[in-house]
Symmetry: C2
Subunit: 379 residues, 2 copies
């Protein structure tokens, strides 16, 4: 979400260095929760570290809405940025690649190599676009289970993720408790609030009202980039915090004093948003954005039932981390999950960190988060 | 902003009933703060109550971004809704039309009858569109001064307004202290934060990236309605509060369970936003939205200088009201204005009301706000 480089590491750990992705292909038909089916699926993924003989040292990292499988290292010497969680994953880091075999896959429905709306449907020879089935977070997790199976891993040491990755993490804990030793969900909650749904729907409308969206059947080279830019600009504001933006930009100007109105960039924060949007449209598929945000809006850990029923299914200990400046997935939504777990007699912990980066706090290195993850994974 | 009908009046006051608007026309060239000029201007306005012989009982109400001059009563028997501040303005109400002569004008740059981008430029016979000069809140106030002059009013009993209306109010207090007895500014602040600018810029981009915007020269019957809808949906979220939306909608569904994804409305909050957008595009001009939001972003009560310089110019007592659930113009921004005034030895009061309606709280009837305005206007 936040494309900015994380602040420099407090400790001088090792780096995973050069990495390559792999494609896991399942040739069996995949049935979606809402009834749709695709003839096969691919999940693009990366791994770091070595799987031990007992195959019990694997950690699965689940990425956020606009993240991908590339969470650590670099693909080649020209790559400007390291993976999105590079400060967290590597030798001696909290997700320690000298101890753990770390897996991160692009989600089902994504657009970075895994099967999603922009994938060619082998049955038609055309992109799925809106023929891609209705998607849920449970579908994403079920696809990950196939990948984990293919690696011969029966039980994961941990599942961890933030935001959409946190929801996948909670879904794992609920649906596959017997295959997870522990879980860490960051900056998420049991379900979206009305406000979060409202923001997502506004983003979707920005895309769908762009004439170039063309009912999802757009030219990938000339897609609904205007709408996708607007969706990203808005979403990006919700990933940050009022205080964070104020500290970074305030009312710093790029002003030209003239009587003619041209609606040009006048404040630096505008220029920053434009940059974020431009960078986003070069890497993200508009239909994928629609499908993934819908899956998020639909996610409800409790599935509309009494929370106790869900809690009963979660058999393993977990840690939930909220951030006080996160107003998209506010602390109370994170805390609520753990309150239900504790009331249900489960082993669960809640930590609330005070970091100014809003929802993106889990993507920004901080000593508190760093130590917390390190300790919890190793206990 | 909030189109919903205010909750019913706690007290059974009278109504202003049927009202008519008037057009004030100034035939002299109007010079804008940034240097632009238009050959003449019109302000559409309404008045309620009677101007007394001494002409010292006038109250000027300044409207918010998407408000207008019609703040009380109805235009005809078929009008479904009363004016936007009807609960506040009328016989026996806080802005008591049996005591006060109440004026409310559509702002310069607006689109409800006052001169703005969608007005025909008498020099060219075409709409101004983007030839309309760069606009500021000071320009809006200077146009209102011409209207007040034309009514023979030397000194206003009060100026009052919320949000953009609050900024106009503060500008009046600063630039025309000698012409105001007191002022009440609600839900505003001295200037926009980076976050508020970011939201406004996203809304502008939604409009300007709509191909039908056509560099501002759109067909009014076939304008950038898609972009304007998206801008409104996003803005509308920022006018409300997380808690308010959750209480009203939560995760109430309009669901159709099917495997095909059609991105239809699935939650009631989505349907509500669509309705708000649809209603908005029938009444608001896209270029006007661009100009007014730019004026708001530029507004800085302190004009980048030491606040003391501004404070020195404000010679009259004032009341500033913040709302604890307002995250677009948060309480601290409102409070800050009064803190500076008090430090500068000025008569000023700050009240923070606890109302769940977010930024729109000033548009929703509450006993606290009702009494506060009533008392402050009459002291």
């Amino acid at each position: 979400m936040n494309d900015s480089e994380p602040i420099s590491n407090a400790v001088d750990e090792g780096e995973v260095g050069f990495v390559d992705f792999h494609d896991f292909v399942s040739r069996a038909p995949f049935h979606f929760e809402f009834g749709g089916v695709i003839p096969e699926l691919t999940l693009r993924y990366e791994t770091y570290g070595q799987l031990n003989k007992e195959k019990n040292n694997a950690i699965l990292i689940c990425h956020a809405l606009t993240g991908d499988h590339h969470c650590a290292g670099v693909h080649d010497i020209n790559e400007r940025k390291r993976g999105w969680w590079n400060f967290m994953v590597g030798p001696g880091k909290p997700i320690d690649t000298t101890r753990y075999f770390v897996i991160c896959s692009n989600v089902l429905g994504g657009c970075q190599g895994s099967t999603g709306p922009n994938t060619i449907n082998p049955e038609t020879g055309k992109r799925y676009d809106l023929d891609f089935p209705k998607l849920t977070v449970r579908d994403m997790v079920r696809a990950q289970v196939l990948l984990v199976d293919s690696l011969g891993i029966n039980k994961l040491h941990a599942v961890i993720g933030g935001s959409m990755g946190g929801m996948q993490t909670l879904q794992w804990a609920k649906d596959y408790s017997e295959r997870v030793d522990r879980y860490i969900a960051l900056a998420c909650g049991a379900r979206h609030s009305a406000q979060t749904i409202a923001f997502n729907e506004t983003g979707r409308q920005a895309i769908m009202r762009d004439p170039k969206w063309n009912q999802g059947a757009y030219d990938p080279e000339d897609g609904p980039f205007g709408g996708l830019s607007v969706a990203r600009m808005m979403a990006h504001i919700t990933y940050l915090s009022d205080v964070g933006l104020e500290n970074k930009f305030g009312r710093k100007r790029k002003e030209v004093d003239k009587s003619k109105e041209d609606f040009d960039v006048e404040f630096e924060v505008e220029s920053y948003l434009h940059y974020q949007a431009q960078s986003f449209i070069t890497r993200f598929d508009a239909n994928s954005y629609l499908y993934l945000t819908k899956a998020l809006d639909r996610f409800d850990l409790f599935e509309g039932e009494e929370p106790e029923k869900t809690i009963d299914k979660i058999k393993v200990p977990g840690l939930v981390v909220g951030f006080d400046s996160d107003w998209l997935y506010p602390p109370q939504g994170n805390r609520e999950v753990v309150e239900h777990l504790l009331r249900g007699g489960k082993e669960a912990s809640y930590v609330e960190l005070s970091i100014d980066y809003g929802h993106d706090s889990f993507l920004v290195q901080s000593p508190d988060l760093y130590q917390l993850i390190q300790t919890y994974l190793n206990f």
